[in-house]
């Protein structure tokens, strides 16, 4: 029951994040021209979807594909977190940068700042994903902290 509640909560938080991604991102980092462009090109939503996808998929891979006691210490989970915090901001930098570059905009500095912000979002999202799905893992359900 507890596990189901945590899964439901995790999914709900994720959906809320997707719905309110623009105000959330803008409350964390705002630069009027850059933010307007991000908003107008629906980039916040794309980045939010990418972040959610990457964190949940990596968490799923860790708990259900790797799923090994050989890799079930808390520091193994931290390795996955490190990987995800590298991947997600990188993707969320590279993709809008390519889009903006094609439109001859130069938001390199703003995007870098935004990527740092999204790094924090990624960490939170990976924690949410982990605590939503880990309970049914046969080998890693106690990672990063015991049930």
């Amino acid at each position: 029951m507890k596990q189901a509640i945590l899964l439901f909560t995790g999914v709900a938080l994720t959906v809320l994040f997707l719905i309110f991604c623009s105000p959330i991102y803008e409350s964390l980092y705002y630069s009027s021209e850059f933010s307007n462009e991000m908003y107008n090109s629906n980039m916040y939503f794309v980045i939010a979807v990418l972040t959610v996808l990457i964190t949940w998929v990596v968490a799923g891979i860790y708990y259900y594909v790797i799923n090994s006691v050989r890799f079930s210490r808390w520091y193994h989970w931290l390795i996955m977190l490190a990987a995800v915090t590298f991947c997600a901001p990188t993707v969320t930098y590279v993709y809008p940068n390519a889009e903006f570059t094609s439109q001859s905009y130069d938001y390199a500095v703003e995007l870098m700042n935004f990527a740092v912000v999204n790094l924090a979002v990624t960490i939170v999202m990976f924690i949410i994903a982990s605590f939503s799905i880990r309970w049914w893992s046969s080998q890693c359900r106690h990672t990063p902290i015991p049930q």
Binding site: V69, R70, S72, S138, Q139, H142, Q147
Partner: protein, 504 residues
């Protein structure tokens, strides 16, 4: 089924020690369909006046440890399978501790025998002239001067007199009171020494003659018709030549012949036994130290003792209808011997006959893997995987009496037992004793390799245990030791079936 096991003399203790190891490994008697018997209880009674005998002391320690470990894992309940699953109790325990004259021990109290010289025991100096002359012709001066607290030093003529007080002991009376028709008796003894050769016929005689015994108050008919099995161990080890010692290798065969002749007339020949197991080995061990008893008598474990222990398991597996007894006589007595599939000087599990392989190989391998797992892996894994599932196994578990008894006492003796059997001749070397790699530790067979995963390692076991442990509420808070045993066995059962399927 409740089985009273009388282990007589040094060989009795050593066979009992091997039986404890097999039971610890989970070896159990099976019915004719091959299913494990469910409610099995063994009540060992060690009969040996030589209380300082190291073989006896080691066996007594093992019995206590086994009982403590079992109590922690299963409580007082019967268990149908698993390590330490067969219940072992003292006579006092099964009498619900009602007897005030019995100590809570596995040792038979032989009273005066353990404290006196044989001369004093038979009041030699106060005998009439006629009896004096008779005793002088039956017993040598050395016999008369024997201090019986070191046993009967290979002299069954002393033992047959001294042990006659068996029937008057509190232990025998307690046994007679508690014995029920569905219970059985098994007697372990050697035929070429003193205590065993003398004690075996006396025990049988007192059971079969219970009808006329003043020591047995009630229950006379039940006792008299008890289903009795016996292991008679023929010479299987050599001893150093020592002209000052009363024990000599050259006497072994003569004593064996004499005893067999006597047994033929009054034990086996008159159907007193329901099942008799003969066991010996023509290939003699490296000579043991010639110790009549003064120095503690500590003999190395031998495969014969392990095979001897299997006779007890075999006896329990025989159905009641084949052990019928009428008027104190077995209607269809059974006589059994044993042969190896491969009689080499060094043997392993694969050299045992098929029925033995089916009976013990899987259990012995499981237990050995468990020993290695506890020694090399378990402690490092606390705080991970299944140890974090409720009921949790925390670091404090390592200092609990259950775990310490298992790892610091029982397993130490287990290692010694294996080493002694390997060093002894015939060498029984089921496992590579220095090998900690579980894929390579079994002699004569290696774990099969999978295409992707290779052979097995500790993490396969630990991971498997973690997967099995996922089921909620499988164990209560008081079942932490059981959880460890049960998960390990579930996983290793599957691993053995997959990786060592030629083992049995």
């Amino acid at each position: 089924m409740r089985l009273f096991v009388f282990a007589v003399g040094g060989t009795g203790s050593r066979v009992l020690k091997s039986l404890i190891m097999l039971l610890a490994a989970g070896v159990r008697p099976k019915d004719k369909d091959g299913n494990s018997l469910k409610e099995v209880e063994i009540v060992p009674i060690v009969v040996d006046p030589h209380k300082a005998n190291d073989d006896l002391k080691r066996t007594e320690d093992l019995l206590k440890w086994y009982r403590d470990i079992r109590q922690s894992v299963y409580g007082n309940d019967h268990a149908e399978r698993g390590f330490f699953s067969v219940k072992i109790s003292t006579l006092k325990e099964i009498m619900k501790n009602t007897s005030t004259s019995l100590a809570d021990t596995f040792l038979f109290n032989l009273g005066d025998v353990e404290t006196k010289k044989f001369r004093d025991f038979i009041h030699f100096n106060s005998l009439t002239d006629e009896n004096h002359a008779l005793c002088s012709s039956l017993f040598s001066e050395d016999n008369l001067e024997t201090k019986m607290n070191i046993g009967f030093v290979g002299s069954p003529n002393i033992g047959s007199v001294a042990l006659n007080q068996f029937k008057d002991s509190a232990e025998f009376k307690g046994f007679a009171d508690i014995f029920k028709e569905e219970n059985r008796v098994f007697i372990i003894s050697s035929i070429f020494g003193g205590t065993g050769a003398a004690g075996f016929p006396i025990i049988v005689k007192n059971i079969r003659d219970a009808k006329d015994s003043s020591a047995v108050v009630g229950n006379k008919g039940t006792i008299r018709n008890a289903k009795i099995g016996a292991l008679t161990v023929l010479p299987y080890f050599d001893i150093e030549t020592d002209t000052d010692s009363p024990i000599s290798i050259t006497d072994f065969i003569v004593k064996t012949q004499s005893a067999l002749y006597y047994y033929d007339k009054s034990l086996t020949g008159d159907n007193s036994l329901n099942a008799c197991y003969y066991l010996g080995d023509e290939l003699k061990s490296d000579p043991y130290k010639n110790d009549p008893g003064n120095n503690g008598q500590k003999n190395k474990a031998h495969i014969i003792e392990t095979i001897g222990a299997l006779s007890i398991v075999d006896f329990m597996s025989i159905s009641d209808d084949k052990l019928a007894t009428e008027e104190g006589k077995a209607t269809t007595p059974l006589f059994r011997e044993y042969g190896l599939a491969n009689g080499a000087e060094t043997i392993n599990l694969m050299d045992l006959g098929k029925s033995t392989r089916r009976l013990i190989n899987k259990e012995m391998v499981k237990f050995h893997l468990f020993r290695l797992f506890i020694k090399n892996e378990f402690e490092n894994r606390i705080g991970q995987g299944f140890t974090q599932d409720a009921p949790e196994i925390k670091k404090g578990f390592l200092s609990a009496s259950f775990y310490r008894t298992l790892s610091e006492n029982f397993f130490v003796q287990y290692d010694i037992w294996l080493k002694e059997m390997a060093d002894n001749r015939r060498h029984f070397v089921p496992f590579k004793l220095e090998e900690n790699d579980i894929a390579k530790c079994i002699n004569g067979i290696e774990a099969k390799k999978s295409f992707l995963k290779g052979a097995i390692d500790y993490m396969d076991i630990f991971g498997g245990m973690t997967t099995k442990s996922k089921k909620k509420d499988a164990y209560s808070d008081s079942q932490v030791p059981f959880k460890l045993f049960d998960l390990f066995e579930q996983v290793v059962d599957e691993i053995i079936d997959e990786k060592y399927n030629s083992l049995t």
